[in-house]
Symmetry: C2
Subunit: 407 residues, 2 copies
Amino acid sequence: MLKFDYPKNPEQFNMVEVPDMKHYVDCSMDELFAIQQVAEEIRENANVLLVIGVGGSFLGARAVIDALTPYFRTNNGVEVIYAGNNMSGAYLKQLITYLENKSVYVNVVSKSGSTMEPALAFRIVKEYMENRYGTEASNRILVTTDAHKGILKQMAEQCGYRQFVIPTEVGGRYSVFTAAGLLPIAASGIDIQAFLDGAKNAESDFDNVDIQSNAAYQYALARFDLYSRGYSLELLASFEPRLRKLHEWWKQLFGESEGKEHKGLYPTTVTFSTDLHAIGQFIQEGSRILFETLIHFDEIEEDIEVPFMLNDLDGLNYLAGRSMNEINATSKDGVVLAHEEGGVPVMKICIPKLDAYHVGYLMFFFMKACVISANLLEVNPFDQPGVEAYKKKMLELLKENVVNIHE
Amino acid sequence: MLKFDYPKNPEQFNMVEVPDMKHYVDCSMDELFAIQQVAEEIRENANVLLVIGVGGSFLGARAVIDALTPYFRTNNGVEVIYAGNNMSGAYLKQLITYLENKSVYVNVVSKSGSTMEPALAFRIVKEYMENRYGTEASNRILVTTDAHKGILKQMAEQCGYRQFVIPTEVGGRYSVFTAAGLLPIAASGIDIQAFLDGAKNAESDFDNVDIQSNAAYQYALARFDLYSRGYSLELLASFEPRLRKLHEWWKQLFGESEGKEHKGLYPTTVTFSTDLHAIGQFIQEGSRILFETLIHFDEIEEDIEVPFMLNDLDGLNYLAGRSMNEINATSKDGVVLAHEEGGVPVMKICIPKLDAYHVGYLMFFFMKACVISANLLEVNPFDQPGVEAYKKKMLELLKENVVNIHE
């Protein structure tokens, strides 16, 4: 289903615990049905779904939506827009203007409701929705949060918003298979049943300690081995530009799970062949601090042929009739040969097809590998104590300024 | 004009040559006039400008256009789309469909015309334009290439395309102030005269060897100092999401100029506060291998206020009446305090305003600092020998396959 390729015998490694991760793909039938119903309602009534969330509360949904929807937007279907992940006044101002002639639904995603970025964006959007839709606003605002506690839960109760659940035991960066991911993904028209099936099959395929057959385990061991040998950076690379947001999700998953106690590989990403003409020089000949992990999909649905050209002005007639995806795959093989020759360790993750099922499968593969990786590194894969540092400083500064203003 | 802030006395460093870089901002009045005229023509006749180019042939233009145009597209103005920077068949297929009801101009940007990605995309687009527009196609295709040689130059002559020039002595990643950058930038409605003025003033401000006053020199020295002390990564950070593509341009500039002879800082980027909730944990507490360079614009034109909320459900009424840009600036101050406390060296580049003049100024600042940096590192800032490696391997594989097919 997923082929992992790295030229090293995994048997020489020690074993670590392979944790049970069933509860990460355990969306109940009731919740799934409710999500599918509301997604249908959004698709019937809206042309914009505004997802307000930061970190794990939007990166998973955006990753899947970008990977599985067309590159160019037409006026059909629901446009998913993200807010509450930055504090740019210009962004929010222009967003509000942009919404003006659209039919809008809002999905606020936050476990606690108290994170500053989504809380401020929601305050602005809530006012906008109430001014525009009056009492109907509460029907157009959907809340995804903890089932039992938090500010957002309270607001939902008071204002009568419909609620969806992020289970208490599922942290943000592991939440793409809960309502946090599934609701926006379904609203954008993607088959969430297939997406979940892929994840569930990955869960069962990688739930064993047999290194020879468990690709998630192999990947975790290989990257730990390279880290132990002094490599500082892992460069995740894809050959299809619409995987760029999946890269961003992967960066959070690994960076936030492993980057603690002054440990961890810095997770960074490239899209090929675009970035071969930007950072390719460094990969080939710069500081020998990085290794590469290539994601390759064997089958991608749409494709185009290189046409024949009279007079062969550009000298490329020898490629006429070949498909671009085929040439793209050849460029991948060229990259492997060139970078290995340049002294860069290269791993390959090959997946049969770019579709909902396999994207679910791949994302669960990464989640499982990430937890095993963190266990190898002897850090906690589920906390993020360092994220609080800037929030605390910012809050102090904001409250200082308030006092100054009132004096 | 631009304030550079790093807590280290630059006087303790050795001096290197500060090269003359006037010819990088030396677009002639005739060329500038021709660019402005054709940009006007595009704005009158087209709603899509398709820029075909890879690496330095599109990263500069895209950086500026993204930094200075609105976040959300309306149907007004020219939409600039990029192709020829990847080899995805799905992307090209969907692009051609998307163009169907648009009025299209094409700008092919390539010094030689022989780079595979733009050459293949242009072959496909050329056929499309000729089928759709007949003889008018040649009026809608604009070529930016070397003045004297190359396949693209020849094609332009044979097909009667209008031509714009990338001077022979200006390499791709330094070409944003030539027609390669200026034509698409002008077509998107940005004031290229102001953009060039900014660059020219930066050229004169940083053309001296006085370390105390030359911020480009200071920046180069500071990053060289950190590199010498064992740091592996420079993390460029902004607080305005529309600078993301400028980050990509910066990555090529530094990565391709310095990443050779097994040397160089790996250039990577983040957008705050978005990425504080993704890679922030790693920055705060992960491997101590990186330092940060923050870009901050003091003034950003559009903004929005935090509204007052009845009952203060989210507890944020203490921020009511404050502007988001102001809160965003406070988050920057919080980041500096938190990351310095976490042991991350932080540099700041402060620019008065986010506009065409200052973006030109900033980009020239980076170009100058990059050349000085490479000189400190004792590598050639202008070549990219490693980029050929994958091209060569790919070509071998493509030609092998041709033979196989014909056998």
